[in-house]
């Protein structure tokens, strides 16, 4: 939905997330929204960002957004492609990753993430795909960015299942648990940007997207969301950012709707 502002909340979210990724950083990218934002960053202000996907491509420069974590475009445009054990051992655990960029099914007050089950683990209400590489990315990357749509079912006070650690119970519990990475530094949604408060590590609304009311954000958050004293308004998407994003999405839709015929002949 494109509002009268000329861009959709989802576009605002992707642009705001892309801006968080500084040029030249090494980023371990999750598929879906993180991959969209990271590639938008690469195509706008961060041409030297190094994108690493858990399937093995290092320095991937896909021409369209990958549908899967292992699309051929990722490996054929990469600087190198390494095996899966190598990507996790040498590159992630080896401490080579500046930023881990993750999505989430659910997130809590202290930015812990659930992608495993809704309901009790033994008898789940909804069985989600599971961890993938997120637990180690959340633990080991220098810092973590999280992108997801703002919704009361997603933003819950306390998770029943922590797949990937944020700040655990807040305060210094993450640091004391012995995780090498600093943890989540921002959660970017279609309504605003939440960042952990310096001492308590509780996610706090620090920037709100243009046209969004604070009450609206609070209503869609499953805990009593704190709002920064100096609440900023997110800069609306620039013309060139929107153009790059829409061009990328158009090319992606064209590519993924075309039928492959190679290797498919009777």
């Amino acid at each position: 939905m494109i509002a009268e502002r000329g861009y959709s909340p989802s576009e605002m979210m992707t642009v705001a997330a892309a801006r968080m990724l500084k040029d030249g950083l090494v980023c371990f990218v999750g598929i879906g929204l993180p991959s969209k934002a990271a590639n938008l960053a690469r195509l706008t202000h961060a041409p030297e960002v190094v994108l690493i996907y858990e399937s093995g491509p290092i320095g991937a420069k896909p021409s369209v957004l990958p549908l899967s974590i292992g699309d051929g475009d990722l490996s054929s445009t990469a600087d190198t492609v390494v095996s899966t054990p190598e990507i996790f051992q040498y590159w992630l655990q080896g401490g080579r990753i500046d930023v881990g960029f993750l999505g989430a099914a659910q997130i809590d007050r202290f930015a812990n993430i659930n992608t495993t089950v809704i309901g009790p683990y033994e008898e789940p209400k909804v069985r989600l795909p599971g961890a993938g590489g997120a637990p180690e990315i959340a633990c080991l990357a220098g810092e973590v960015l999280v992108i997801l749509e703002h919704d009361r079912r997603a933003f819950v006070d306390k998770l029943e299942f922590i797949t990937s650690a944020g700040f655990l119970d807040g305060g210094d519990t993450r640091r004391r648990a012995g995780m090498p990475g600093r943890g989540p530094t921002a959660v970017i949604t279609d309504l605003g940007i939440l960042t952990p408060a310096p001492a308590t590590k509780e996610l706090t609304l620090t920037s709100i997207h243009p046209g969004v009311a604070v009450d609206q954000v609070k209503e869609k958050t499953g805990w009593d969301l704190k709002v920064a004293e100096k609440l900023e308004t997110t800069r609306a998407p620039e013309v060139h950012e929107l153009a790059a994003l829409r061009d990328l999405e158009r090319r992606t839709a064209e590519k993924h709707s075309s039928r492959s015929t190679q290797g498919y002949k009777p």
Partner: protein
């Protein structure tokens, strides 16, 4: 030396009911043809291992071939859930499915440990995660040098590894490239290995550092062009993203799933015939 065999014969001779089997592939080179042959031959009580179970595991689970699933991410990449996996996990249909759940880093390491003939693998990646609370095979150990507490998981040992690759030569040496996943580790962690390939050539002409599996670690090589479909083989085919989307509809109900499996897998002789049927039906189903 690997024997060059028909996939039907290799599966009949090398896979037994109750085996621990991995059909590996990280989106790329997924051995779909091998999975279909397991289904055709009605293999059962399998422990299926794979980091990223997707469509072919959904099919194996929905057809009742699996007793247990060891995995780290189960989904239809870029599309959503695996409906047959969910039905088995949540409702026990068509039979209860035991689940052993890990993370990617853990499983990749566990394959390396299996290939290395070590008892367990070490990882630092589980700090703060609840997964170890629900999987008693994820435990911890204290480093004898630094005192740091680290997570450990038992190594993965397979009865059979099944993979798809681009090329083999006539002796059965196998060459693969592109996204490699854990296929080499899976083969080296297995007692027996079946490899389907796009083509069999006189000479591999591989670079010295290329990923080559020597013929003497492979039990059987089977010539199955397109055998990864709807996954792909870099240099030979592209991922059939439309089929991944179509699967969401096909697999959503038990009835449409069963009808699709009957027509495309149970009622076909082999993967070549499967592909011929799919071309006919995909106009309506993969549209």
């Amino acid at each position: 030396m690997a024997r060059i065999a028909l996939l039907r014969d290799a599966v009949r001779d090398l896979v037994r009911d109750g085996d621990v089997v991995a059909l590996e592939g990280f989106t790329h080179l997924i051995p779909h043809a091998a999975g279909h042959e397991l289904i055709r031959q009605g293999k059962k009580d399998l422990t299926l291992v794979r980091m990223t179970p997707d469509l072919v595991y959904d099919q194996l689970i929905g057809m009742g071939c699996a007793r247990r699933l060891v995995f780290s991410w189960a989904g239809n990449p870029g599309v959503g859930s695996l409906h047959r996996f969910r039905d088995a996990a949540q409702n026990g249909w068509p039979r209860p499915l035991e689940i052993e759940e890990h993370s990617h880093g853990d499983m990749a390491n566990a394959y390396v440990a299996g290939a290395s003939n070590l008892p367990f693998a070490i990882t630092r990646g589980y700090v703060g995660s609840d997964l170890p609370k629900h999987n008693e095979r994820i435990r911890s150990i204290r480093c004898p040098f630094t005192g740091e507490e680290l997570a450990v998981v038992p190594s993965i040992r397979l009865d059979v590894a099944m993979i798809h690759a681009q090329k083999a030569d006539r002796k059965g040496n196998v060459l693969l490239w592109g996204i490699l996943g854990v296929q080499k580790e899976a083969v080296l962690a297995a007692r027996r290995a079946i490899v389907t390939v796009e083509e069999i050539v006189d000479e591999l002409r591989a670079w010295p550092n290329a990923c080559v599996l020597p013929h003497w670690v492979v039990s059987a090589v089977c010539h199955v062009p397109g055998g990864a479909h709807p996954s792909y083989a870099q240099g030979y085919s592209e991922r059939d993203n439309r089929f991944y989307r179509a699967w969401d509809t096909i697999s959503r109900s038990r009835e449409t799933f069963a009808a699709w499996m009957k027509r495309h897998v149970l009622d076909t002789e082999d993967f070549e015939q499967f592909r011929r049927v799919l071309v006919k039906t995909s106009g309506q189903e993969a549209a």
